[in-house]
């Protein structure tokens, strides 16, 4: 009666990139949904223009956060309506999801900064790495007196350090 056995019907994930860098792209959003940073290292497929892609990604994350808070099977408290705005850290939140072609890791700070890293699907747990990236953000962006909160990040030192770090983990 076993039709599937051990074989998979979905295509196998792509091989790691030749350079050894398995990071695809990274986004940073603030609490209002403004895309502060978009870094791309390996993205052969592009289905939308940049602005729509950022909006769609933020919408996906917002809805998934709402979904996980609603679906939390261990909390018996009244969770309110689906889609209701929630404070950062309130309720159950997701930290990653995996498809057959990529893995998306997610972190949200108490101030509402969202960091998203898209990597190869076989990547392990990246929660500590995202916390380190948040530390890089604090050190090189927040502490930069020339940076205006809410505007896109244009800090070369942060970009360089980030590229180096992501190349090492993914």
């Amino acid at each position: 009666m076993q039709f599937f056995g051990v074989s998979e019907i979905s295509p196998s994930p792509p091989a790691p990139t030749a350079s050894g860098n398995n990071g695809h792209m990274m986004y940073v959003f603030n609490r209002n949904g403004v895309c502060l940073l978009y870094r791309e290292w390996n993205r052969p497929l592009r289905t939308l223009d940049a602005q729509q892609d950022h909006k769609l990604m933020f919408g996906l994350l917002f809805s998934l956060k709402s979904l996980t808070a609603k679906m939390d099977p261990t909390s018996a408290v009244e969770k309110g309506n689906l889609g209701m705005l929630q404070l950062p850290g309130q309720g159950c939140s997701f930290h990653s999801f995996c498809t057959n072609t990529y893995k998306l890791s997610f972190m949200e700070s108490p101030s509402g900064i969202k960091i998203i890293l898209v990597t190869h699907p076989r990547t392990g747990d990246l929660r500590e790495s995202l916390k380190y990236i948040y530390n890089l953000y604090v050190e090189y962006v927040v502490k930069n007196p020339l940076y205006t909160p809410g505007s896109p990040i244009r800090c070369e030192l942060f970009n360089t350090t980030l590229d180096q770090y992501v190349r090492g983990i993914a």
Binding site: L48, S63, L64, K70, M71, P73, F94, F97, T101
Partner: protein
Amino acid sequence: MAAIYSLYIINKSGGLIYYKDYGSAGRMDTNDSLRVASLWHSMHAISQQLSPVSGCLGIELLQADTFDLHCFQSLTGTKFFAVSEPGAQHMESLLKFVYELYTDYVLKNPFYEMEMPIRCELFDINLTQAVQKDRVTFLGR
């Protein structure tokens, strides 16, 4: 004792055709389960659009603080997803086994109309047996 918290089956249009709760602490009423299923259908589709490489089939595993959500989509677009404890094993095998039960007890039922909610007693009975923890452990053999 069940190995999963709950199981959902969605048709290819995103409508909820089966929902079974096996012990969640928070109750979800019928309307909420319908909304959750429809939202998952949309999120699954959007995740395909945002893929950096071609050939993406959508979310297979969503990891949250207190649960994991495993999803299996058949070739015809029916989605089976189960909410389990974080790190629970053999969930992919369990969902494929549920797919077998679905084909055997639902699709082969001449009284069942496609895309409608599942109300097949044999499916319920066999599904309840399949999700028991000791049965799920054997899926890894």
